[in-house]
Symmetry: C2
Subunit: 150 residues, 2 copies
């Protein structure tokens, strides 16, 4: 099973539809659940602290935990697909963690088996969720040798 | 003016809506036009060759031409916003070029003033167009010191 733990509501309808579409496509390959936690609007330190408490409550050390953060390792799509395969050979669940506007707290990073960075650019969390889901879907297409250009 | 020269139609309605939304938001800061060229479905060499011919016809050497390709330079969002500012101080137009599934031909790369890479990951061209537009919009928000978290 794949679990995505993320912060903040999706407001734009087009992002909601994009997310629903990729969740549907991924469901052919793996069970996927999205745990959407509330975001906070305090200063940076307090926001990260409050969000971290909720994120940690939704992490299970038995899972392979992959955090998305700017200082993480950069991979290409083929390597990302290998990561999916490798994780599932040792663990039955993969959990991806996407932080809020201010990023992830240290505790979440320490609990992670792997930190990944998709880009040096900053993306809105709504768009980032689409990017991650598309990449997971692409990963399964690569694993299964299925063509996928679009 | 900003021009985006890109290859392939947008099929998914949610991507169409996302693109329309960011085009609308960017229009408060700069005139933006999207030149959407047909894609081809030959082998890699012929596809790149045919797409390149059309792309080159839509490039103007007077513009500041930025090509998006995997071997390009990686920048963060702040540096990307500086690029927008710097380009407009020397040229009146910026042209971004997004290739098709097989990437850009050498001629387009040689005509470019700058090559940028947003990620080591491969994205579908439809999603990539959203990512570029969002980053241009974010760039203008940064330039104008406007808050933008979402």
């Amino acid at each position: 099973m794949i679990k995505i733990v993320c912060v903040g509501k999706i407001k734009e309808s087009f992002y909601k539809e994009a997310i629903a579409e990729y969740v549907k496509r991924i469901s052919k390959y793996q069970k996927l659940t999205i745990v959407e936690l509330p975001d906070f609007d305090y200063d940076k330190v307090k926001t990260i602290y409050e969000e971290e408490k909720l994120i940690v409550n939704n992490l299970d050390k038995k899972d392979y935990i992959i955090s998305l953060c700017i200082e993480g390792k950069k991979v290409d799509s083929k390597t990302f697909s290998n990561l999916l395969t490798d994780s599932f050979t040792t663990k039955s669940n993969i959990t991806f963690v996407i932080g809020g506007s201010y990023g992830l707290g240290e505790k979440v990073k320490q609990m992670s088996d792997l930190k990944l960075s998709f880009s040096d650019l900053t993306f809105p969390h709504q768009l980032f969720r689409v990017i991650l889901l598309e990449q997971i879907y692409r990963g399964f297409k690569i694993i299964n040798n299925e063509s996928y250009h679009k």
